[in-house]
Symmetry: C2
Subunit: 207 residues, 2 copies
């Protein structure tokens, strides 16, 4: 007996997913691991007019463009949102999102907690995931290990991370990214994406 050609499942539309968390929680490591796997998802690359730093690759770390081109993107409404950070422009090209969605891929935004709040305003139905450390001590140890800074600067970073931790309740999902447990973190993020794709009522976004 032949299967019906029409799927009985509700429409499987791509998701917009925000992955955030305090400074030092390991957002970049998690994103790198997600990219390494052969998954139908696209990690959004921000555009900026600042110059690349050593090791930064155009189209991977950022889309590096001239200030003139960036301001043209603003005028042409090519950016979903943008901000002037210190002396540099940063913005999300609309095509980063629309192209990925049109090819059926989930769109991942890797942002700090302030960026997450702005994205939630733009996309109230985005899937909001907050990465947590296993403990505050682990977070502080990571911040201490990766920055060669004065004790005062480190203290400031830790205070900022503690403030960022308080914004957990603005998120829908919390995933612990513990030291040496990257596989578990990835599995839990993928479980969230799987479950969200099984929702009967799809989330909707206006781009």
């Amino acid at each position: 007996m032949a299967h019906s050609p029409v799927s009985l499942l509700p429409g499987q539309s791509p998701l917009l997913v925000v992955i955030s968390g305090p400074s030092g929680v390991g957002k970049d490591t998690v994103i790198q691991e997600l990219k390494r796997r052969n998954l139908p998802l696209h990690v959004v690359v921000t555009a900026t007019d600042r110059l690349p730093r050593a090791g930064e690759v155009d189209g991977v770390d950022y889309h590096f463009v001239s200030t003139q081109r960036f301001e043209e993107m603003i005028r042409n409404h090519e950016l979903i949102e943008y901000a002037r950070v210190y002396d540099d422009y940063k913005g999300i090209p609309r095509r980063e999102v629309t192209d990925a969605m049109q090819s059926g891929k989930d769109v991942i935004f890797r942002v700090d907690v302030q960026g997450a709040a702005r994205l939630r305003q733009l996309f109230p139905e985005a899937v909001m995931i907050f990465l947590l450390p296993a403990s505050m001590e682990e977070l502080e140890a990571r911040l201490a290990a990766r920055h060669t800074e004065t004790p005062e600067t480190l203290k400031k970073r830790i205070e900022t991370a503690r403030e960022e931790m308080k914004r957990l309740n603005e998120f829908e999902y919390a995933v612990v990214n513990a030291d040496g447990q990257l596989e578990k973190t990835i599995e839990q993020i993928l479980a969230i994406l799987t479950a969200e794709h099984l929702k009967v009522k799809p989330r909707t976004y206006s781009l």
Copy 2:
């Protein structure tokens, strides 16, 4: 550096999960497979005053009790809900749910779509999962294969299943249980449970 003894995760409370779907979709097979695995979940066993049929085991298929005992359970408010189906009582003992939750287990209800609607009224925040066939042809083939009935009775069963399929929109999640794909079905159900446990705002139930 010692880990903080206090988890940074929000409270991990047990879930109430309703697994339903049309007649013939394979609810029992899915539940048996879930029970076979060593998971922290409890499948609710209904109480009834009817006599066990051949092969039915007390405490597994049903809690078989006398009519006198069943009516005592009604008077003592020991049942979350009950109904008289034809000449038999059927009901859900409250302790089936409270004992499992107190030991930290998710509680699974395996019910037909009518039962699912009643459970949603009792527990508006229950996780509602609808099992779908891969196609209506597959569902009809399964109904035809497992019943030795007249063509008229089979036709009636198929009509009922088609009506039941229309209630998909009353559910939150839809999982396809295709022939020969039980592993995928189980993985998707477990992804839903994993994701629900990662929710920042826990679901609440009044028992």
